[in-house]
């Protein structure tokens, strides 16, 4: 039983990370119908930026984290303004290749700037607690709390604020949004900024657990699987998918090690076979 709870809580915290990254995917997808294959690499960059600010420049942790989020938000907006904006409305494939290319650049640049030696951030939340024989790293508890908080904020924001509705409008019909006087470009840049900041947050939360190195971005693939399980484009779906992926992993590793590597993906295929558009389908039938 303890073992079960142990795996479950680790799974949930890992799932929150995947969920956060999946949220980044979903937000950009919702606003621009673009699948940002560089999302994982933006998370990686975020954790490196945090490392530079906190470990290299000596900022206090609680100052370094918001500073990182701001830097990465600006970076996200800049990526949109300088590069991505050019291909909005172009065929999906062009967009896929563009973001894949951005991922290559980010990874290579990170390797050149920060090297390939794994790094870590000293965080005031390190250490671990144990309850009734369950051992859990403090940072994992923080991950769960932060994710829950963030989701609440985002949900409220999208549901009730004028900007949130405008974001949804922009994603549904860009031309009509332009015609209604909604500042579409600003909104899209803002979405990139928020998505980059969310990924950076995931990166910072993850840094003490997985160490920081340029290839960390490949974690994005699992976040991707999470987003797809949830139904690409659905924010609650992203979190749910993240949790599913996060929980499957440690259980598979502990009880069926032979299929551990593929378990997540097998589950994803099963979900897609039953519901080809994920748990929260986002595709509606077109009127003929």
């Amino acid at each position: 039983m303890n073992e079960f709870l142990q795996l479950l809580i680790v799974g949930i915290s890992q799932g929150c990370i995947y969920g956060l990254m999946a949220l980044g995917f979903v937000m950009i997808y919702k606003a621009t119908e673009m699948v940002n294959f560089a999302q994982g690499d933006m998370m990686m960059l975020g954790s490196f930026v945090a490392w530079t600010l906190i470990m290299d420049l000596g900022m206090p942790f609680w100052l370094g984290v918001p500073a990182t989020l701001i830097v990465m938000a600006l970076f996200g907006a800049l990526v949109d303004i300088l590069i991505v904006r050019r291909v909005i409305g172009q065929p999906q494939f062009a967009v896929i290749i563009l973001t894949l290319g951005l991922g290559i650049i980010f990874r290579a640049a990170a390797g050149m700037i920060w090297g390939h030696v794994p790094l870590t951030i000293d965080s005031p939340i390190s250490g671990f607690s144990s309850f009734y024989g369950i051992v859990i790293g403090n940072e994992r508890l923080v991950i769960i709390a932060v994710t829950a908080l963030l989701i609440t904020i985002l949900w409220t924001y999208f549901r009730y604020s004028k900007w949130g509705v405008a974001m949804k409008a922009t994603s549904q019909n860009q031309l009509a949004a332009y015609y209604s006087g909604i500042p579409v470009r600003v909104i899209i840049s803002a979405v990139w900024a928020v998505a980059a900041a969310i990924s950076a947050l995931a990166g910072i939360l993850l840094a003490p657990i997985t160490l920081i190195e340029p290839m960390n971005g490949l974690l994005g693939i699992k976040a991707f699987a999470a987003a797809v399980i949830g139904g690409f484009g659905s924010m609650p779906g992203a979190i749910l998918g993240g949790l599913i992926v996060g929980i499957i992993e440690p259980f598979a590793a502990a009880y069926i090690p032979a299929v551990k590597g593929s378990m997540v993906y097998i589950v994803m295929l099963i979900v897609l076979a039953l519901r080809p558009q994920g748990l929260f389908a986002q595709i509606h039938k077109k009127k003929l």
Binding site: E33, I83, Q90, I104, A108, V228, G261, L269, H284
Partner: protein, 358 residues
Amino acid sequence: MRILFKTNYKQDLNLAKHSGHRFWYGLLILVLLAAPLILDGYYIGEATRVLIFAMAGLGLMVVTGFTGQVSLGHAAFLLIGAYTNAWFLAQGFSSFIALPMAALLSMIGGLLVAIPAARMSGIYLAIATLVFAIIVEDVAGHLSSITGGNRGMMVDVPMLFGYQIWQSWELYLFVLIILVAATLIVLNILRSPLGRAMIAVRDSEVSSQALGVNPMKIKVFAFTVSAAITGLAGAFLAHYMLFLTPQIFGILLSIQLLLMIVLGGLGTVHGVFFGAVLIGVLETGISIAKDALPSSIGGLPGIEPLVFGVILVSVIAFEPTGIYSRWVKIRSYMEFFPIYRRKSFKRQRVYLKTERLK
């Protein structure tokens, strides 16, 4: 500009539309055949790699470019083809058996993916295929009795009529001949009802159904043909690398294939070759250029993927529909030379509309 006078419907069925086509493509094939006489070993090796990737890209183009089914998992078919070919050669069969078996097994793999995949579309399909490739890689790692598992497997050289194809130019010619054959088959499909049905399914699934096309069947067919061609490419990739481990066929390889055909220009056979040559020239060029640069720049670790990424992003940002469409522009510039207007290819503002209404 050339004006064609058609006197016969059959003219439209010919692959070469006019004598100019016949001349230039004929010349191209001659030059390619003669290349080993002119070029030295290094360039033949590079050309072989480009041809193998072109073959894999051709396979991917059938399903992604012509049928509109995104696949991020074609490395799986390369894997199946490569291992099948290597296994049969290791059992002492000649390439006459090993190559068709490589194509056949990949085809069966394609069939397995295609049946569930035909129900999916867009990003879901992309991820499902990506995941399929990850699982295939995992399985190959665990089937150590056949594949040698993660320890890897050496690949014997191709055997034809008891003759070992060992020299690099021999492998080059072998690849070239099979590639030309595969290209002809793809061109044949494209000019027959099946090819039109593929394009119909890509552009509008509902109306293709209303015209009596069975989209499921067409998608499965495209996936199967695609897998077979990619499997063949995998067989040759095995010969190119001489050693196989499952990790070779990871996500990055699938991505590179997709990258190639999108960069070349989706939906055209030309695009495959433009893409393969472009990526090949780019990689070779960067790797040679970095030696010429001062070591403070050229010797920076990671400079190659960085430059590659930057060029890739710039190409897509300026020519989102691929190099082939740039070529079309250049060609029409030359054809209409004095009266060509730059603006006629100016990119207009475009706006996005949700694709969630399917």
